[in-house]
């Protein structure tokens, strides 16, 4: 039962009524950023009203979907009031008054930032992440912190200490992960847009499972300062939105060089919203043959091939490309990511903040008990794996080899982009899976990221947009990937696709 995002059935109330009254009948929580900003600037509703509408929505359905770990009502209400005052003064900012959700590994001053972990359950960040600073500067209203796999380690949000989030399209199924909470919040209209983070597909795969748009920018495009690290050379914050146009707005706000992040890139920042408007005629879409093999669900394959046809109909040329090292991507990822994670997570030792085991006699006891009790199973698995691949005697065979494979994967993309402007592929091999379907078999779980991992290893931008549904009514995601720092192409192709299709206009009947 899909409806238009704006809830247009309520737009055509009696024209005799005042504009103000008319807009109050709009289903505000369904608005996109574009629509919300337009409505706020036109004084059709206030940020306080919009924020309240979002919280009303949350109060109504959060019990079914569990998108959030915690809400920041007071802060949001204050920010909404501030936004309304600025709007009244004629101020214009890209997100002024717009309710946004944050994945709970992005630090916001004075709020709990748990990373989905027991070990950080009571950690309150004393500082703002750079993206949070930029959201605040852009006038955003921060609604709450969304659920996630602990430290970003997982593909289903089942690894959260706070319990699982449910896929709004089918409550029996996972929303994907690790940014599952953000994907659910956007999909179920519990926020206007959200931020997620993507280390191996953590934005794109849940976006695909929940039928929304999710963009992982180029590594270095968005500052990681204040993003609690999982794998530092792979992590990237990105928007999770209802439309590609919204992702462009969000990216405009959060991107750019940050002196606090040495890995943030000193590159020109275009106006991504401008880029959307240009057409895609004559651009080439590459379909990598390695992505269409036996592991791929036939319904997903059909949707992707249909999407390719759509792009062709918009004037794009379809070409075959090859990313030959795809088969090594998952292994390479788990070596690189776990190695970095094993160091990144060392700071959670019970000494300074977060959880500390009480049943310890010695320092060693405190360390091991704290980490034994504070971390979940998957996190411990990855710390062990990472510690192993860095150990003396194994470093060359694993970590160093992994780095070499990573270079090969990077080269694959460079070669592929000689033949095309954008690569199109499935985001995930299959639509959303059921709870506990893969928890018993980590390797099966890892394979659900097989199509997304390469973009992180290569550092290129990737985006998932809804492109169809399975026969069981589950969303299917189309992944687009582009050259380093060519988000413009990604957004343009995605936007033109959405201008000519309606998959992104569908939402779950909750």
């Amino acid at each position: 039962m899909a409806r238009n995002r704006t809830g247009s059935e309520s737009l055509n109330v009696s024209s005799a009524r005042s504009q103000r009254f008319l807009f109050s009948n709009i289903i505000m929580h369904r608005l996109t950023i574009e629509q919300a900003v337009e409505g706020l600037q036109a004084r059709k509703f206030s940020s306080a009203e919009l924020t309240q509408a979002i919280y009303d929505r949350i109060d109504k359905i959060e019990g079914s979907v569990s998108a959030y770990i915690h809400l920041t009502r007071e802060m949001a209400q204050q920010q909404a009031q501030d936004a309304d005052r600025l709007i009244a003064q004629g101020e214009k900012k890209p997100l002024l008054g717009v309710p946004i959700a944050l994945k709970d590994l992005i630090c916001a001053q004075g709020t709990r930032t748990t990373c989905g972990s027991k070990i950080l359950n009571d950690f309150v960040s004393p500082y703002d992440a750079t993206v949070v600073r930029r959201l605040k500067d852009a006038g955003a209203v921060l609604i709450g912190k969304t659920n996630m796999d602990e430290f970003g380690m997982g593909s289903s949000t089942e690894n959260s200490w706070h319990g699982t989030s449910k896929n709004p399209w089918n409550l029996e199924r996972t929303p994907g992960g690790s940014s599952g909470g953000s994907a659910v919040a956007v999909s179920a209209n519990e926020c206007i847009a959200a931020l997620g983070s993507d280390t191996g597909g953590s934005i794109r795969q849940p976006a695909s499972f929940c039928g929304i748009t999710g963009l992982k920018p180029t590594y270095g495009r968005v500052s990681r300062f204040g993003l609690i690290a999982y794998a530092s050379s792979l992590d990237q914050i990105g928007p999770m939105t209802k439309t590609v146009a919204d992702s462009a707005i969000m990216l405009n706000v959060i991107c750019g060089k940050d002196p606090k992040d040495s890995t943030s890139a000193e590159v020109a920042v275009p106006d991504f919203s401008q880029a959307l408007r240009q057409d895609v005629k004559g651009m080439r879409v590459g379909l990598p043959s390695e992505y269409f093999t036996s592991g791929l669900d036939p319904e997903v394959e059909e949707s992707i091939r249909k999407s390719a046809k759509t792009l062709e109909s918009l004037g794009m040329e379809i070409v075959d490309v090859s990313l030959p090292h795809l088969e090594y991507a998952v292994a390479c990822y788990y070596i690189v990511a776990c190695a970095e994670a094993s160091a990144n997570l060392s700071r959670y030792d019970g000494v300074k903040y977060g959880y500390r085991s009480e049943r310890s006699e010695t320092l060693m006891d405190m360390y091991s008990n704290t980490r034994e009790e504070g971390f979940g199973k998957e996190v411990k698995r990855r710390i062990l794996l990472g510690t192993f691949v860095l150990s003396s005697g194994y470093y060359d065979a694993y970590y160093l080899k992994g780095q070499k494979v990573r270079t090969l994967i990077k080269n694959d993309f460079e070669n592929a982009f000689k033949q095309c402007d954008v690569i199109a592929s499935p985001t995930a091999p299959a639509p959303a899976f059921k709870f506990n379907e893969k928890t018993g078999d980590p390797l099966q779980m890892y394979l659900s990221d097989i199509y997304t991992i390469s973009a992180n290893l290569a550092g290129v931008p990737g985006m998932s947009i809804p492109c169809g549904q399975s026969s069981t009514g589950l969303p299917i995601g189309l992944q687009l990937m582009a050259k380093h720092f060519d988000e413009e192409t990604l957004l343009r192709v995605g936007h033109q696709y959405q201008q000519n299709t309606d998959h992104h206009l569908k939402f779950p009947s909750l």
Partner: protein, 478 residues
């Protein structure tokens, strides 16, 4: 059996930056616990390091001053281990690609010059400090002061080319002097800004390969370093003489007992699991930067020493003493440039001036007599306006009152008597008063010269020019 001692030294020194290596916290010493901290150096979740460019600049200076090759591309690594004073659970250091390689410095022991190789120089962050509750009267608890966490250090690793405790000490003194000259570090051992670990092993004379080494830590003064190495040499020699094997381990020096004791053995040694720090891109230093920095490195102690010997014709020993500290060298050079004869200046500075300062525990930088005033005294000595003996009195007065030498001499009428007529009169009086001794002198008892000079000096209240007195006595009595 006799063994050859083999020593390699690892020196950690704090660079002079005002702020820490990866955040903007102050590096000031002596602040209250955890005052100099922020989310970054506390390793809070989500923070990232940003390299302090000034720290890199200092590291480059250290490389250039020790003739090390500055690496065009170097890199930070994570050194992983758990300890409460290490907030991230890893230390950001340099492992595979350090900033400097293949340097050297020259030392002199017993007049013999020797070149000691420097294997590598790398940058790293310091850790914090654990304070055990017992020291605060709270047992069963420990506290951590993170003020030092993230203070920028360089580690300078020598080749195992030192062969005695004296050589080790000479190396450290020279290295400290170089780092101070190059303005890299103040090398204050009390504040921990110059720390040393020593790798010590013995091998039978003539044997090519090294014996098993121990690493000595906690050596926080030059004296302790020498003592610890001497103790460790004896300990290892005893073990080897008993036909046993030295265990490779880390040992701490206990300065109260004068012994070293085992801290941890190799079996417990850490596997630090170094890997490249993904939060910091590789460090690129181009040759232009290196050359620009090189041009700002001042004359270093060794060059200065050679110049002093050649230019000022002072003995090598004096040159060594005067150049050991940059401030002292400046003081000396200022005196000379004001017109003092170098030898007079060096004798006086090394003797009376340093002696006086030492007595009060002062350094040359706290000297109450400015070089320009001191030079005036030296010139009066050089011109023989006053004798060396009177000069000592004048110096004491200058030191305590701050008055210029001329003024003191005027006020006290201390000018040396070089008037031949006046002196001849004095000498004659002394001869007349001591006819017996005069007779003996004439008969060849030369030793009595001292007696006559002494009597004349006494009669002149020390103001007679002793050389002239000598001359006149000789004339009159032969």
């Amino acid at each position: 059996m006799d063994y050859e001692l083999v020593i390699g030294l690892e020196v950690h020194t704090q660079m002079k930056t005002k702020t820490k290596i990866f955040c903007s916290c102050s590096t000031a010493f002596g602040r209250s616990p955890n005052e100099n901290t922020c989310p970054v150096c506390l390793g809070l979740p989500g923070v990232l390091p940003v390299l302090n460019k000034q720290a890199l600049e200092y590291a480059i200076r250290a490389c250039l001053a020790t003739h090390s090759e500055v690496q065009e591309i170097s890199q930070f690594d994570r050194k992983n281990y758990f300890y409460p004073d290490l907030p991230k659970g890893y230390q950001i250091s340099q492992f595979a690609l350090p900033i400097g390689l293949r340097g050297h410095l020259d030392i002199q022991v017993d007049g013999v010059q020797k070149r000691i190789g420097i294997t590598r120089i790398h940058m790293e962050e310091d850790a914090g400090k654990l304070i055990h509750g017992e020291n605060l009267g709270v047992s069963g608890k420990s506290y951590i002061d993170f003020n030092r966490t993230g203070v920028p250090l360089i580690e300078i690793v020598s080749e195992p080319e030192l062969r005695s405790a004296e050589e080790a000490k000479a190396y450290l003194i020279e290295l400290r002097s170089i780092l101070q000259y190059a303005d890299v570090s103040d090398c204050n051992m009390e504040e921990g800004s110059f720390r040393c670990d020593a790798n010590v092993s013995l091998r039978p004379w003539g044997q090519e390969e090294f014996g098993t080494r121990t690493e000595l830590k906690n050596l926080n003064s030059f004296r302790f370093i020498q003592k610890a190495i001497e103790y460790e040499t004896d300990r290892q020699a005893k073990i080897l003489n008993q036909g046993e094997k030295v265990i490779q381990e880390t040992r701490l020096y206990d300065s109260d007992k004068g012994i070293t004791f085992s801290m941890r053995s190799k079996e417990e040694a850490h596997d630090y699991r170094y890997f490249p720090e993904p939060d910091l891109p590789p460090i690129v230093v181009n040759s232009e930067w290196i050359e620009r920095t090189r041009s700002t490195i001042p004359e270093l102690p060794e060059e200065k020493r050679q110049r002093y010997v050649a230019e000022f014709k002072i003995p090598e020993y004096d040159a060594g003493v005067l150049t050991a500290e940059q401030d002292l060298a400046h003081y000396f050079e200022n005196c000379v440039s004001e017109g003092a004869i170098p030898k007079t200046a060096s004798n006086w500075i090394m003797g009376d001036l340093l002696g006086r300062l030492n007595k009060e525990g002062l350094g040359i930088s706290n000297c109450p007599i400015p070089a320009i005033a001191m030079a005036e005294l030296f010139k009066l000595i050089d011109k023989q306006t006053i004798s060396g003996k009177i000069a000592k009195t004048v110096f004491e007065d200058m030191y305590s009152t701050g008055k210029p030498a001329e003024q003191i001499i005027q006020e006290k009428g201390l000018v040396q008597i070089s008037d031949t007529g006046a002196l001849e009169k004095l000498v004659q009086e002394v001869i007349d008063a001591n006819p017996g001794q005069a007779e003996e002198f004439r008969n060849g008892k030369d030793k009595l010269m001292g007696f006559f000079v002494g009597q004349v000096m006494k009669a002149s209240k020390g103001q007679a020019n002793p050389e002239l007195v000598n001359k006149i006595i000789k004339e009159k009595l032969t």
